[in-house]
């Protein structure tokens, strides 16, 4: 981890607090390399945003962290342990939960079955997960009302709630969320952001990919800007919002 210590950027985080530390990460699919050396850190209990245009490698980055896309070079250290060679299953078990782009709920299953799938990695029986179901129903009461409804038949906002709740059922220490607001009405996005703040307050670190830059930087304490598979910029949300290039490229002002 010598590279991590010498790397500059921000200094507010002490080494002990670092939950996820990514260094020089390269990866992609078959013949196409998408990530070209990504360095990124998330501290315990922190909320961090990733912004960037389509095709910048945000989704691939999250998939590489959660182990469904293999990395080619670089290191991913979670809670002091390198994730090199770890399978998707082992990564969930260690406490990283991934809410994928497009929700990817199990449409023909009902909400409760989807949530129970979220707790799958913990290897518990259904009744042992009952307390956790109640916990996520506490955050998203609408899911409790509709728990026997098929996930595929719900509105986009409810599906996103279900996807986040499903992610929480794994009892993660880090929640990866890909495209929180895509296709959702502003009122719903506000509601979801409030939910995330609540989840974050309970000590779950969140790394959120979000195409709406204002929403992202409003929600998170810090942000990273992805460009062509590299980190183009990083800083606190205030710094990024004030940055001329961010303004010009992503806010159109």
């Amino acid at each position: 981890m010598s590279r991590g210590e010498t790397r500059g950027g921000y200094t507010t985080v002490s080494a002990n607090d670092v939950l996820l530390s990514v260094t020089g990460l390269e990866g992609g699919y078959d013949q196409v390399q998408i990530l070209w050396g990504v360095d990124l850190e998330v501290s315990a209990g922190e909320m961090v945003a990733i912004i960037g245009s389509n095709g910048a490698g945000k989704t691939t980055f999250l998939k590489t962290i959660s182990g469904v896309v293999p990395s080619r070079a670089g290191t991913i250290v979670f809670d002091g342990i390198a994730l090199e060679g770890a399978t998707a299953k082992e990564i969930v078990e260690r406490g990283i939960s991934h809410v994928p782009e497009g929700r990817r709920l199990f449409g023909p299953m009902n909400i409760e079955e989807n949530l129970l799938m979220g707790g799958y990695a913990r290897g518990l029986k259904d009744h042992e997960l009952a307390a956790d179901l109640e916990r996520v129903y506490g955050i998203f009461p609408i899911l409790k009302e509709r728990r026997k409804q098929l996930a595929g038949s719900m509105s986009g906002g409810e599906q996103q709630m279900c996807a986040i709740a499903r992610g929480l059922m794994a009892r993660p220490r880090l929640l990866l969320i890909d495209e929180l607001s895509l296709g959702l009405a502003p009122r719903l996005v506000e509601q979801l952001c409030a939910n995330l703040v609540e989840i974050n307050r309970e000590g779950v670190a969140i790394l959120v990919v979000e195409q709406d830059v204002l929403t992202a930087l409003d929600l998170a304490e810090r942000g990273y800007v992805f460009e062509s598979g590299r980190i183009a910029m990083s800083g606190t949300s205030d710094e990024l919002i004030a940055n001329q290039e961010v303004k010009r490229t992503y806010l159109g002002i």
């Binding site: 959660s66 182990g67 469904v68 399978t87 998707a88 299953k89 969930v92 078990e93 939960s97 991934h98 994928p100 990817r104 709920l105 199990f106 449409g107 023909p108 299953m109 079955e113 129970l116 799938m117 979220g118 799958y120 990695a121 029986k125 259904d126 499903r166 794994a170």
Partner: protein, 288 residues
């Protein structure tokens, strides 16, 4: 009265047919494998039952769980060690692979056990009772009941258990299931093992009522195929419906056209269903 008798015979046969086909349907629905080995598992399950009865006098209904467990493990390791290697390849790759394995299995069975037809002759094989003039053979009734039990058991397993849910999840969205911590290789092996175990149990049932030989495996495979396509691919109630339809077609067909055309009529119904309702009688895609 003859019609009622044939109707009862058909339904009793249909229950057993459902158990024969349901594992085949599971593997096809979840992994998109046309599993040519299915009949071989049935045949091997039947032989386990036959030899246990012949050598040690074990009742076929007692050796059924043993056949099921033995075939579960055989299937589990075949999937884990062999079929998983080409699971992402084309449909025809897995078809050819299971065909090759089927040839190995059947030729070995022919080598060791010869092609003679064997049957289990229990003391109670000829027992029957009458209800309102309809003769109900005891063994056929047991085959029907156990066939329904196996089919219903799979339905329950898929709907309620943690592993059943994971099998459905892998079928619906493989990558999302992986994100939940599901190991696809193990789930595929388990699915295939369950299918083989059900085939082993069904093979034990068949051998309790019918003569078997290594080459009967093709007959089982053909019936499974017809039942699954007629009932609707990849769903459990479809296997039940398909089993009943095949039982009816075979028995009434034998009455009107003679027993020689039984199998041909099964395929005629298959073609008819494909023309009229290509998704099968209860067709829905996959185990949802």
């Amino acid at each position: 009265m003859i019609y009622l008798q044939i109707l009862v015979n058909s339904v009793l046969l249909g229950g057993m047919y459902a158990a024969i086909a349901v594992g085949f349907s599971l593997v096809w629905g979840v992994m998109n494998i046309l599993n040519i080995l299915h009949g071989t598992f049935l045949m091997l399950g039947g032989y386990i039952t036959f030899w246990l009865f012949h050598l040690y006098g074990v009742d076929p209904f007692l050796s059924l769980p043993l056949s099921a467990v033995a075939m579960f493990f055989l299937g589990y390791f075949i999937q884990l060690g062999i079929i998983n290697q080409v699971i992402r390849a084309s449909f025809f790759m897995t078809l050819v692979l299971t065909f090759g394995l089927e040839l190995i299995g059947v030729k070995m069975a022919l080598f060791f056990w010869t092609g003679d037809y064997r049957s289990v002759q229990t003391e109670y094989a000829g027992y029957s009772f009458q209800v309102g003039g309809v003769v109900i053979p005891l063994v056929r009734l047991a085959l029907f009941g156990l066939g329904l039990l196996l089919t219903g058991g799979l339905f329950w397993f898929m709907a309620v258990t943690r592993t059943g849910r994971a099998i459905r999840a892998v079928r619906i969205d493989l990558e999302a299931a992986q994100l939940m911590g599901v190991n696809p290789a193990k789930i595929y092996a388990t699915t295939y093992g369950i299918s083989a175990g059900l085939a082993g149990a069904a093979g034990a049932l068949v051998s309790a009522g019918f003569a078997i030989s290594p080459v009967t495996d093709v007959e089982f495979l053909a019936k499974s195929f017809v039942i699954c396509v007629v009932g609707g691919l990849g769903n459990i109630t479809g296997a039940l419906a398909g089993g009943l339809v095949l039982g009816l077609v075979e028995n009434f067909g034998a009455l009107y056209f003679g027993p020689g055309l039984q199998n041909a009529l099964g395929y005629a119904v298959l073609l008819l269903v494909l023309f009229i309702r290509p998704s099968g009688l209860l067709g829905r895609a996959g185990y949802h």
